[in-house]
């Protein structure tokens, strides 16, 4: 290119700059895995055996052609329970994350756009919640009241709020001062409509990434509760519960604990990876000039 031909370049690693679209393999794997889990969720019938069928005679079996992942202490088929458990394992964190983010977004938009006393109240409550260790409170409340799964979800939801509300509120405040929001105000667009059609989409990338991150947290928190014997009722084919219940007999059938554990970690990682990727994509789409 240059006649002098002396290359000033020091860093040939130029791939990332101006990188075009294209799906990184990690993201593809994550999507594929989540797809598989989604299939399990909608079609629990795929399970080779009745996931709840107790066959004492078959207990503690290792993997075989009849039971690909072996059996648990009650002789139930681990693979079938894994497939059946996808529903609670995925839906519970999903519900929890969706609920947390929905409430957080609502509060953040209200506080960040309306300001004034609404903001003051929401922010103070958030401050208080923020300074309480969530999991510990969950353990106290759920432990003391023996409240069970529903209560754990509510408690975790409430304590998942502060971090998200803070981040989202800051984002809303930033966007609320932007011309497009002011233009909508000048046009006379109603406040609820501005919130819905301007602010919510504007913080969309952040909402999405928070949602996926929250799924990860939800999985980790719920499984920690399961680990402590709180949370979903015994016998449910929930992955966290399976791990906790079969852990004692891990040496008899390694897969009865490892498989749900791996699935759990894989869902968490996939959600995380996918969230990051979506965020970047969404951000780039909105930002490229």
């Amino acid at each position: 290119m240059s006649p002098a031909g002396i290359v000033l370049a020091r860093r040939p690693r130029a791939r990332r700059f101006l990188a075009g679209p294209g799906v990184p393999p990690g993201v593809a794997a994550a999507a594929l895995f989540l797809g598989l889990v989604a299939v399990w969720v909608v079609a629990p019938g795929l399970a080779p055996h009745d996931p709840a069928l107790i066959r004492p005679g078959d207990a503690y079996q290792g993997p075989s052609s009849a039971h690909l992942l072996g059996t648990d202490p009650l002789g139930r088929d681990v693979l079938s329970r894994l497939i059946d458990g996808a529903r609670t394992a995925v839906l519970a964190p999903l519900t929890l994350a969706a609920g947390t983010i929905a409430v957080s977004t609502t509060l953040a938009v209200l506080a960040g756009y309306l300001r004034g006393w609404v903001d003051a109240v929401i922010s103070r409550v958030v401050d208080v919640l923020y300074s309480i260790p969530a999991l510990m409170v969950a353990i106290v409340i759920v432990g003391v009241t023996g409240g069970g799964f529903g209560l754990s979800i509510i408690v975790l939801l409430v304590f998942g709020l502060p971090a998200n509300v803070r981040v989202l509120r800051a984002a809303v405040m930033e966007r609320a001062a932007l011309p497009y929001v002011e233009a909508a105000r000048t046009l006379g667009v109603s406040t609820p409509r501005i919130m819905l059609t301007q602010l919510v989409p504007a913080i969309g990338p952040l909402v999405i990434t928070s949602f996926f991150l929250q799924i990860t947290f939800a999985i980790v928190d719920l499984s920690s509760l399961s680990f402590l014997g709180l949370g979903v009722p015994p016998g449910a084919s929930d992955w966290g519960r399976m791990m906790a219940e079969n852990r004692a007999t891990m040496s008899a059938n390694f897969f009865s604990t490892a498989a749900p554990g791996l699935c759990l970690a894989a869902v968490a990682v996939s959600a995380n990876v996918l969230g990051d990727w979506l965020y970047t994509r969404y951000e780039q789409a909105g930002r490229s000039r």
Binding site: I132, P133, M136, M173, V220, F227
Partner: protein, 348 residues
């Protein structure tokens, strides 16, 4: 490069921020920083009161009571009633709460019903296990996380960056107990380097027993602190001030320490505070996995036995710790950032 009209943007800086600055000014007072601390302290006391009330209500309204643990499975109803009466558990709740608050003013957390010792002593002993565990892992995670974050931010997009990112995702997505079990299996059983059960006796022995729990906690925390540092430092490295410093030929250490670390400090400190608080919950699990008699275990056993003074004491102490952490975070931020000392809004 296009013309940017920063001028007008600043002119309109948003009524919101100006309003707030103005309001702050109206309230008078010499130092905005002092005022902020005062507000925070009032808030802190409110938080503490709220925590005591909430915990008190939950514990007292929960099914079962300490008399059942005290009298055992073969007790008679008369025996149970007598014990309830002895500890005033049948008094109206507000009376019990006032009694509790009254004792609190003398820094008296009461006596454990099932351990028969002052709650402060139980907590002190448990804290002897928990405090080093929390503080060391937290410090390690903060330092190593910042170092790793900086290291990867400097080589953004490289293979190393992606590997570290993937590892942090994995660590953050793995439940604490799984991480703990894995480490215990590797270092305690396969390599047989370290003990996996209990907290040992005092001093050096205890340090040995705490290595694995600390490692576990650090690993989990490291995930979030690294990711955070990576993002924040990445942002700062993109800022004009870094380019300007490098254009002046300033050394790498100057750029990294005086600019990058300093500018990341406020957010890092704030995050560290939040992490420390969040950690107090995860601790329960770590302590269970390694059978450590720390605060988490103290709380869980107390809940199981409905040992009311202990439950209240531990939650109060944790709440106080949280308040103190928040206060320290605020003070550190004030020390680091002159803008905050002037009462300006800084994105934390």
């Amino acid at each position: 490069m296009s013309t940017t009209g920063n001028e007008a943007a600043r002119d309109t800086a948003g009524p919101a921020t100006s309003d707030r600055a103005a309001a702050a000014h109206r309230r008078g007072g010499r130092s905005p920083a002092l005022r902020m601390l005062a507000t925070r302290s009032v808030g802190a006391v409110a938080v503490l009161l709220a925590v005591t009330v909430v915990v008190f209500l939950f514990v007292h309204l929960a099914p079962g009571g300490p008399e059942q643990a005290l009298a055992g499975r073969e007790a008679t109803p008369e025996q149970l009633a007598a014990i309830r009466a002895r500890y005033g558990l049948d008094d109206p709740l507000w009376q019990q709460y006032l009694r509790y608050l009254g004792a609190l003013t003398h820094l008296d957390l009461g006596t454990s019903l099932l351990r028969r010792e002052p709650v402060t002593r139980s907590i002190g002993q448990a804290a002897g296990v928990t405090a080093p565990l929390v503080l060391i892992s937290w410090l390690l995670a903060a330092v190593a996380g910042t170092a790793l974050g900086m290291f990867t931010a400097l080589r953004a997009g490289s293979r190393l960056d992606r590997v570290v990112l993937a590892l942090t995702v994995l660590a953050a997505s793995t439940p604490v107990f799984a991480t703990g079990l894995l480490l215990a299996w590797v270092f305690g059983i396969q390599l047989d380097w370290l003990p996996v059960l209990g907290a040992g006796r005092d001093g050096g022995d205890r340090a040995r027993y705490l290595v694995l729990p600390i490692l576990t906690t650090t690993l989990v925390l490291l995930a979030s602190s690294t990711r955070f540092a990576r993002v924040r430092i990445g942002q700062i490295l993109e800022e004009d001030q870094v380019t300007f410093a490098r254009a002046r030929g300033l050394s790498t250490s100057y750029v990294l320490v005086r600019i990058v670390l300093r500018n990341a400090a406020v957010q890092t400190i704030t995050l560290s505070g939040a992490v420390l608080i969040a950690m107090l919950g995860g601790l329960v699990v770590v302590e269970q996995v390694f059978a450590l008699p720390g605060l988490g275990t103290l709380l869980v056993t107390a809940i199981g036995a409905r040992d009311i003074p202990v439950i209240q004491g531990v939650t109060l102490v944790v709440a106080v710790a949280v308040v103190v952490v928040n206060l320290v975070v605020d003070l550190l931020c004030l020390a680091v950032d002159p803008r905050m000392r002037r009462g300006l809004e800084v994105d934390r």
